[in-house]
Amino acid sequence: MDTKNQYQAEIKNGKLVKEDGSFFRAAPFEVRSEDAIYTVEYIRDHEKEVVYRVQEDGKTIGEYGHPFFVPNEGPEKAIEQYSNCSALFHAFVVLNITKQKDFRQYFESNSDSLVYKISQTTFL
């Protein structure tokens, strides 16, 4: 792994096939699939609550707060609503950011085609 990154992971067919370094959940990271690049930051929102903010092409597509850090509407609707971003929410499950059971169960049978990479640059 290069010195710029503190964590890198590769997911193929929904399975974590390569992992290197240490992922820190409160630091920014990037989820890169063939279709999109999502940047995720752990920040305070305008109400001073701490949330994960997800951006695609510099545009915020969602902010997810405690305790589950995923959209409330459940996996199917969320994925449909947010530009078919399966890789993003799958990454949230893989990285243990969300413990929401519906999302975990959903991806147990809906992740076979997912191919993407996660990277986190050195934070501090």
Binding site: Q6, F24, A26
Partner: protein, 783 residues
């Protein structure tokens, strides 16, 4: 410039080290449990939302200057939740701080003389006083300067940071004991003897899940000797306190173990060594409580006609003629940053000694000339979240943050407090007749909401109906607080959270109807109040089925059904690291002495040898009772296994012979370099330890050598925390993924902690059954 304590010269170095520790934690080279032990001593707590932190700021005697509070408000706005939170320990906290901002906040606080050091951990905590000390007409004398001077000394003494457990100190200005000295580790109550200022001294009190009322230690000690008393008790606690169990190592447990005679004798042994040393006497600088106001400051007329009732409820004439102290009731202890900025801008006109935090999570102003009360009223009644329109009873209600942010919380007392407030203010109860009533709530058995010293108190619990969990509270009543007469509230019954607002209303109504027939609340309670509580609990005992009313199962202020999934009571691993830390610190201290040429050479060398051999035994599940066992166990588990080079075997064996008394410690003087080498080797091994308690040099046990039985059974009855957890963890390391381990644990701390710690390590608890003989059988499935 007024400061409520001095900060140790070593602080910059400590903050720099902490900054490095944070970087290591983020990079994954320090695990979360080790990091926890480091951060809590800096007053940094992780909130229920992981990676979101609370910063606790020391305010000795509850004092904070306008400039300091302004800085806290600014930092709260920039780096936190937009608020400054006032606590029941008379200090302030910033919430929702992100890890990358922690050190910036700490350094900014230092610029105005505020420190977070010792906000948590096994340290001398914030030293409390009576909230109106110095301005109270009933002062025996002002005790604030004693708390200030004592804090300044304590934070500079290295042994204040590594005690067996947290150590709390309080000073009361008279026998009404408004600082609750009998509910704390060490308490001083101002008194006079033949015109000499002095203290009655109480010790070994404490609340928490196992509350104990403090005992009289000395009936009079000259006031300036408060330092020697504190120092002696601290040294005695350091020497004799129980470091092995995090859950029974407060000073109160030492009293219980030793009983009065031995406890007092050990204390006096230390006290008599230093009591006559006048150089140690506290040098008190009186706080100035005289009016300070620029004559050009305009006197404002009150903005509305509610001023008079506000003045009656919240303003109290000081003993200094013409000056007032004012209580500012805060909603749930929160001061919105903008309100903090407007308040401090106004209050700084009246001097630096103008603000105190109080234990009901409110602000107390002091030294305000009567003519300017309108200015204050106009300011506080414009607060974004103001309670000034309500009777003071409302602002006096105490609640901890509960499960909203605290990892130990079960219920949400903040939500409950709001629900009670809404119920009461919409009723026709005359709450002004209850101005001094203490209605205190905690979200769990820990006592952050001071339920043990409540007139009517509650603490959170989980209740179940047909298997579904719902939020509930135990009901307590009847605490009495006065020096030498303190009695904790009695647990009377339990009640569902959602019934409490009606319950409180009905109880207070019953009390107010009958109050005039009694001398005081305690008499009412004894005569009929307890029966009223019991009958109201009966009246409100109905709990709907989950299918009938789901909302009953969702706590006040929560958005989903009660759950304990995020609770973090797992202290076992932290306890293990605490044990390691005890020896690490001894080694560091003794190495420094060797460098400086201070101390006794042979004594230092023995201590280094002993601590080096004992330090890592806990990782093998070993707890030694005698010194020589440490050397023997170390040889067997670390030298024999080649984790530590055999070149150190000779010093280990020498240590054992010294421990047995067969050789004098002086034999170690010729082995200095080997002993230092041994300590380095042990430290290096520790640095390389992974989360599974394995060292890099260790061979990983292959799967086929693992315990092959389908179900592995272990009996840890009689094994204390955290050793039972360490042993469990070691067995889990040996078995295959998915395999099951059944352990037997004692009731009490073991069953409260081990399963949670195991869960936090990622394993599953499949079953937890109480056996007929009172032990617990826990079935674990390895992750």
């Amino acid at each position: 410039m007024l400061r409520f304590y001095e900060i140790a010269d070593t602080i910059d170095q400590e903050v720099n080290q902490f900054e490095e520790d944070i970087k290591d934690f983020v990079a994954g080279t320090i695990n979360p449990i080790k990091f926890k032990a480091i951060r809590v001593a800096h007053g940094i707590y992780e909130q229920r939302q992981e990676h979101t932190y609370m910063i606790r700021i020391r305010c000795a005697a509850g004092g904070i200057t306008p400039v300091q509070l302004k800085k806290c408000s600014e930092l709260g706005e920039q780096y936190g939740s937009g608020e400054v939170h006032f606590t029941t320990r008379r200090e302030v906290q910033l919430h929702n701080v992100l890890i990358q901002d922690i050190v910036t906040v700490i350094r900014e606080l230092l610029t105005v003389g505020l420190s977070t050091r010792g906000g948590g951990g096994n340290t001398i905590r914030n030293i409390l006083t009576s909230p109106n000390s110095g301005v109270d007409k009933e002062d025996i004398f002002d005790v604030d300067p004693y708390a200030i001077e004592l804090t300044s000394r304590m934070v500079k003494e290295p042994d204040s940071w590594n005690l067996p457990r947290k150590f709390k100190i309080a000073f009361s200005n008279n026998s009404k004991d408004t600082a609750y000295t009998q509910a704390t580790c060490l308490g001083f109550v101002a008194t006079k003897k033949e015109d000499q200022d002095g203290f009655e001294v109480y010790c070994a009190g404490g609340m928490g899940a196992k509350p104990m009322v403090g005992h009289l230690l000395m009936d009079f000690v000259p006031a300036e000797k408060a330092y020697q008393v504190t120092k002696a008790l601290k040294v005695m606690f350091d020497k004799h306190g129980n470091r092995r169990s995090k859950f029974s190592n407060r000073l109160k447990f030492l009293w219980k173990k030793l009983q009065r005679e031995e406890f007092v004798s050990l204390f006096l042994e230390e006290y008599n060594k230093i009591s006559s040393d006048k150089n140690l006497d506290l040098k008190i600088v009186d706080l100035d409580n005289r009016p300070k106001i620029d004559a050009s400051v305009k006197v404002d007329a009150p903005k509305d006609d509610k001023f008079d009732i506000w003045k009656e409820r919240y303003c109290l004439a000081q003993k200094q003629e013409g000056l007032y102290c004012i209580k500012i009731p805060l909603q749930l202890g929160d001061l919105v940053s903008n309100d903090g900025l407007s308040l401090t801008k106004l209050v700084e006109l009246f001097g630096e000694n103008t603000i105190r935090c109080d234990r009901a999570q409110n602000i107390r102003l002091r030294n305000i000339p009567e003519a300017y009360l309108g200015n204050i009223y106009n300011c506080v009644s414009s607060f974004e979240r103001s309670l000034v329109e309500h009777a003071s009873f409302i602002g006096n209600m105490i609640n901890c943050t509960g499960a909203q942010t605290c990892k130990l919380g079960i219920c949400l007392p903040r939500g409950l407090s709001v629900a009670i407030r809404d119920k009461l203010v919409s009723s026709n109860l005359d709450l002004d007749r209850l101005a001094d009533f203490r209605l205190n709530m905690s979200g769990c058995p820990n006592t952050c909401g001071l339920h043990h010293i409540a007139d009517l108190g509650f603490f959170g619990k989980v209740a179940r109906k047909e298997g579904q969990m719902y939020p509930a509270y135990y009901v307590l009543a009847g605490a009495r607080v006065a020096a030498g007469e303190t009695k904790y509230a009695e647990k009377l019954n339990e009640i569902a959270s959602h019934h409490i607002p009606n319950f409180v209303h009905d109880f207070l109504q019953a009390y107010l109807i009958n109050a005039e027939e009694y001398k005081n609340y305690q008499d009412y309670l004894e005569d009929e109040g307890k029966d009223v509580i019991k009958s109201l609990c009966e009246k409100y005992s109905n709990v709907p089925l989950f299918s009938e009313d789901e909302s009953f199962y969702i706590d006040f202020g929560a958005t989903r059904k009660l759950s304990l999934d995020e609770m973090g009571s797992a202290e076992c691993s932290a306890g293990m690291f605490d044990m390691i830390d005890v020896d690490r610190k001894v080694i560091r201290r003794e190495l420094k002495q060797l460098d400086a040429g201070t101390g006794t050479l042979e004594e230092s060398l023995y201590n280094i040898t002993f601590s080096s051999t004992r330090m890592l035994l806990v990782t093998r599940g070993l707890d030694v009772k005698r010194d020589e066992q440490a050397f023997q166990s170390f040889d067997k588990h670390f030298v024999e296994t080649d984790l530590i080079s055999k070149e150190f075997r000779s010093v280990v064996q020498l240590g054992e012979l010294v421990a047995k008394g067969d050789l004098d410690k002086s034999v170690l003087t010729g082995k200095k370099s080997e002993i230092i080498g041994l300590s380095s080797a042990v430290n290096e091994l520790y640095t390389n330890m992974d989360d599974s308690l394995r060292f890099k040099k260790e061979t990983v046990v292959s799967v086929d050598k693992k315990e092959e039985a389908e179900l592995v059974e272990k009996d840890y009855r009689g094994v204390a925390c955290p050793m039972n957890f360490v042993k469990t963890k070691l067995v889990l390391e040996m078995i295959a993924s998915g395999q099951k381990l059944q352990i037997l644990l004692d009731d009490g701390e073991p069953i409260e902690n081990v399963p949670n710690s195991v869960k936090l390590e990622g394993h599953k608890i499949l079953e937890q059954i109480k056996t007929p003989d009172g032990h617990w059988q826990v079935l674990i499935q390895k992750k």
